[in-house]
């Protein structure tokens, strides 16, 4: 089943000449990706995911009123110019579809293909339910010990 999803990603990426294409859940965890992963992709994705997918959608709506005119609610596309290419994000709950383009002339095509991709497969099958639990840190340990442990090796020398 996952093989079929992977093939779809591969086809779309090749059609676009994109360097990477991926699908993440709303927490920003990549569920499936295809292509070469530029170093900042996962960080960007995780950061966007941490903002929350619905927040991301709202930001897109608030910042790109003209853009979203023809898009359906929950089907907004965001473009970011980040080295080494252009990142195109389709925010459609509960997923984030992301593609990195190196060829700017394919932006229009990329928007179309991302939407097609989102409709082409029951992506929900990739999703595992995120669990919420109580934080296990608020007990026992002394403050200084926690602090020492937490920030160990964090700072550049």
């Amino acid at each position: 089943m996952k093989g079929e999803a992977y093939t779809l990603l591969q086809e779309t990426r090749q059609e676009l000449g994109a360097s990477v294409i991926l699908i993440a859940n709303e927490a920003g965890q990549a569920l499936l990706y295809e292509g070469i992963e530029p170093p900042q992709t996962m960080d960007l994705l995780a950061a966007l995911g941490a903002a929350g997918l619905s927040a991301l959608q709202e930001i897109i709506t608030a910042s790109f009123k003209g853009w979203g005119r023809n898009a359906h609610q929950g089907d907004q596309i965001l473009m970011l110019e980040v080295d080494p290419g252009i990142i195109l994000i389709l925010a459609r709950a509960p997923f984030i579809f992301l593609v990195i383009l190196t060829d700017k002339t394919r932006l229009g095509l990329a928007r179309l293909l991302l939407r097609r991709l989102a409709n082409q497969y029951p992506w929900e099958r990739l999703l595992t339910t995120a669990q919420r639990h109580e934080l296990p840190l608020r007990k026992d340990k002394s403050m200084s010990e926690t602090r020492k442990q937490l920030f160990r090796d964090l700072w550049a020398r």
Partner: protein
């Protein structure tokens, strides 16, 4: 705050809030330089294609494992300009802790107070009760207001911890960041 059990990660969100040009992005830039590269991402400013901006900066930081989990912190700034009130609220949503960056210049006191109240309104509206730390920045200004004048205007009852800073020189940046994380993770100040 979320836990990704499959990766044993604790996902946290810290937001730098405050008036325009108070030094929020400078804090992130300094943090980026101070943190060992293997523990952080690049600082990403979300500039869109063309002349539109998504209006926030973010930096990801991984801490050392504690309680069997690796905390991964997404650090955001909000845009300070009045017209971006809505974007500020969206970025603030889901925050686990806030560092309020106040400007020490006397002429910015009104803005400090206005944004401070706006932040509280937004948090109340979203039913979010989160640890807040006040960072009084630009202490090196020759005409800087006394810290006590600023904090009295913001927090007359002294409920929130205060850190003095000169973010552009890196002073107080690390302390603020560590303190807000300790407040989030342990519920206490240090």
């Amino acid at each position: 705050m979320r836990i990704a059990w499959d990766r044993r990660e604790l996902l946290l969100k810290v937001v730098y809030y405050g008036p325009p040009r108070a030094g929020k992005t400078t804090n992130l830039e300094q943090l980026q330089q101070m943190i060992a590269p293997e523990h952080r991402s690049d600082l990403i400013s979300l500039n869109t294609y063309g002349d539109r901006t998504l209006f926030f900066d973010l930096l990801q930081v991984s801490l050392s494992q504690v309680g069997g989990l690796t905390p991964r912190v997404s650090v955001y700034t909000v845009p300070g300009q009045p017209r971006y009130r809505r974007v500020r609220e969206i970025v603030l949503r889901g925050a686990d802790g806030v560092i309020y960056v106040a400007d020490s210049a006397p002429e910015r006191l009104g803005e400090n107070v206005r944004l401070w109240h706006q932040m509280h309104q937004q948090l109340r509206r979203m039913h979010q009760e989160v640890p807040i730390l006040i960072q009084v920045n630009k202490r090196d200004l020759p005409n800087a207001l006394p810290t006590s004048s600023i904090t009295r205007a913001l927090d007359p009852h002294g409920r929130y911890p205060v850190v003095e800073a000169q973010a552009k020189h890196g002073i107080g940046v690390k302390e603020s960041f560590m303190q807000i994380l300790m407040m989030i993770l342990t519920g206490e100040t240090v």
